[in-house]
């Protein structure tokens, strides 16, 4: 892709991450941005990569930090913290 790719926090997963990233970057530009995306096509690469990082997140103790953060600012809310609107979302709701 003409650019160096970022590494994984767990060096053991970097190779799997690069495979997933190249698939994703192509899908994003060629399908998603053109409104032609029907489903995420990189599922196979994703599963391998995900398995790898989950193991290392446990080992490095990142998981419990993530659990708290996910409760505080759920993925389903687009990462907006519960009951504590950030400045931008406060501005947005005013504009609405």
């Amino acid at each position: 892709m003409g650019n160096i790719m970022s590494t994984s926090f767990a060096p053991e997963c970097t190779e799997l991450k690069h495979k997933y990233d190249s698939c994703f970057n192509s899908w994003y530009s060629e399908k998603f941005l053109k409104g032609k995306g029907l489903h995420n096509e990189c599922e196979d690469f994703w599963q391998d990569y995900k398995k790898c990082i989950e193991v290392h997140m446990k080992k490095q103790g990142i998981e419990h930090l993530l659990d708290d953060a996910r409760k505080e600012a759920p993925f389903e809310n687009g990462g907006t913290p519960k009951g504590k609107p950030t400045q931008l979302s406060a501005k947005d709701s005013k504009a609405r």
Partner: protein, 242 residues
């Protein structure tokens, strides 16, 4: 609590910036970012949105006065949730630090949207941060201020992202130019066509005006000639009558 706000403009279309955003790191300026991982990603084909959760690993230089709180560890993690809304051409990223959460919380919101002044060619970046230290004393203030200053320094991040955009630009134009490349080519074509049409119109108008002028001249001469003969005829008839 302290706030930080900044705004920037990138001279690339929103689509291109949003694609390069996934490849923003590593870059030569933001060397504190050591790793980027995708933890969860969901695509909604109906709403045309893509939500991603990422884990960003950083290594910042922690000042000595702060290291007693962080245990001398300079490695930290940030969790980011981003939403790409294709229909509204907006990318929103919300992030918060996972490490040192008991000392300091930094909530950051970044948005990328088409620049209203030039929506097809440039993208507006807006950054908002809310910084809160848990210690309500002098050291808390000092930590918050240090964090605000870090944001100011990280504003150099634009230079870093620009270098990535520049590097990826040929790839984008070659492979994915359906969106932006074709549009600009179309504009170029339209411009050159408009120019040639205008030139032709000008040329035609010139010759029409010239012809009109010529005809007017002839007509005037004719009118003059006829007028003169009419006058002389009238004069003759009057003279004759008398």
């Amino acid at each position: 609590m302290k706030f930080f706000k900044s705004e920037q403009t990138f001279d690339y279309p929103w689509e291109q910036v949003s694609a390069a955003n996934w490849q923003k790191y590593p870059n030569k300026i933001s060397t504190h970012v050591k790793s980027v991982d995708v933890l969860r990603r969901e695509f909604d084909p109906v709403r045309q949105t893509l939500t991603s959760e990422r884990l960003i690993g950083c290594a910042q230089n922690i000042p000595r006065w702060l290291s007693f709180l962080t245990g001398g560890i300079n490695k930290s993690y940030v969790r980011e949730v981003s939403v790409v809304d294709l229909k509204n051409r907006k990318l929103t990223m919300k992030s918060c630090n996972l490490t040192w959460g008991s000392v300091l919380k930094v909530w950051e919101t970044v948005t990328y949207s088409p620049d209203p002044k030039n929506p097809l060619c440039s993208t507006k970046f807006e950054q908002d941060a809310e910084i809160q230290a848990s210690l309500h004393c002098q050291i808390g203030d000092k930590i918050e201020q240090w964090s605000v200053d870090r944001f100011g320094q990280n504003a150099k991040g634009k230079v870093g992202f620009d270098s990535v955009l520049e590097k990826l630009d040929p790839v984008w134009n070659e492979k994915f130019n359906d969106l932006s490349g074709k549009t600009s080519k179309l504009f170029d074509q339209m411009n050159s066509r408009t120019t040639s049409v205008l030139k032709e119109l000008n040329d035609r108008a010139d010759s029409v005006i010239k012809e009109l002028n010529d005809r007017k001249e002839c007509a005037l001469q004719d009118v003059n000639g006829r007028g003169q003969s009419a006058v002389s005829q009238l004069r003759d008839s009057i003279l004759h009558k008398n």
